[in-house]
Symmetry: C2
Amino acid sequence: MGTKLPSTSDRRVQRTRRALREALVALILDRGWEAFSVQDVCDRADVGRSTFYTHFADKEELLVGGFEDLRSALRAQLAASGRPGPLGFSRGLIEHAHEQRRLFLALFGKKSGLVVQRRFRDLVFGLVREDLAGVLAAGRRTDAVIAFVAGAFIELLTWSLEARSATAPEEVDALFHDLVAPVLGAARPRA
Amino acid sequence: MGTKLPSTSDRRVQRTRRALREALVALILDRGWEAFSVQDVCDRADVGRSTFYTHFADKEELLVGGFEDLRSALRAQLAASGRPGPLGFSRGLIEHAHEQRRLFLALFGKKSGLVVQRRFRDLVFGLVREDLAGVLAAGRRTDAVIAFVAGAFIELLTWSLEARSATAPEEVDALFHDLVAPVLGAARPRA
DNA sequence: TCGTTAATGGACATGATGTCCATTATTGGG
DNA sequence: CCCAATAATGGACATCATGTCCATTAACGA
């Protein structure tokens, strides 16, 4: 374990971390998650390997920050757009994924890694849970429905990123809402 | 790459492979996919490491066979039960997963590995695709719906395996069909 | 300016991978 | 039942990644 984490304010620290992040993205893009080592990241970032370990324990840990950024960005965007209705996050997330299509494909494609997917899954589950909190009032089924919807969303998004389906983000979002609406109906306590 | 694969009929080969399979399952159960090495498998199976490599290139490759077995077992079971209607595979798969609950949890839990999940995902996608072939006649949306349904199924199943939800397989299956039925309705070409 | 703190790179220990080979045993067909 | 064919074995190697440690150097900012 790192004995002491470098203080965030120092310029050197910021420079180092930024360099590592950028190198990470670059490497994910052209090799996929599993096919590069900490050493590779350091080489690309022009940072000493021992330096890496004073900041992060892992490749994974280096990745985490990025996902947290995404999460807050989505929350902010959603709040700003003021769109009502459940599952409003989908639009922003789909758009972002399409903008970063190459990166997302690298992350979910054959050369991907476990961590990445798990993190993303957690992100989506959290978003779905929050958005459905109001809609599905009661019952143990709540978690089941959340799982159902989140899983459906993730796979639909993944599908939409693949080459064969040249589908615009808005269409994907519309499709998602079309398909999911009746589910929410069915999941509502039988009134 | 292995120069020559051992002929399947030889008793020694069968014994070796069986031992390796069993060791693999045992290790997955008590350490999770990532936390053991080829060496560990060999030790547990009491097989020389060099022997391992004459049969398989990887841990992964060793795993593959098991999934193929599962697939054919499901197909056979479904055919035997003669249950009609789309997505009939779900019942059998859910039951199997619940019977092998510990194993499935080890495979999908925090200590899991990428390969495992991907393989399982492929399995489910295949099943969903086949079962929906008749139901969703036309359109490019077909693949989207398959992804939607498969993703939903996988996550619902995963949810049902977790401790908190003590849900019987039949209930899970019923829930799945309840939730998915309206989706299939919505996905049908607008008649 | 100067004390503090980060970066550096090289050295180590460790452990996994995959390959190769000479030797030993088991096997199954003739 | 014997023997040629083929698996299994285990140890040796080369390679590579990981994580830790340290003495030295450079950059920072108060």
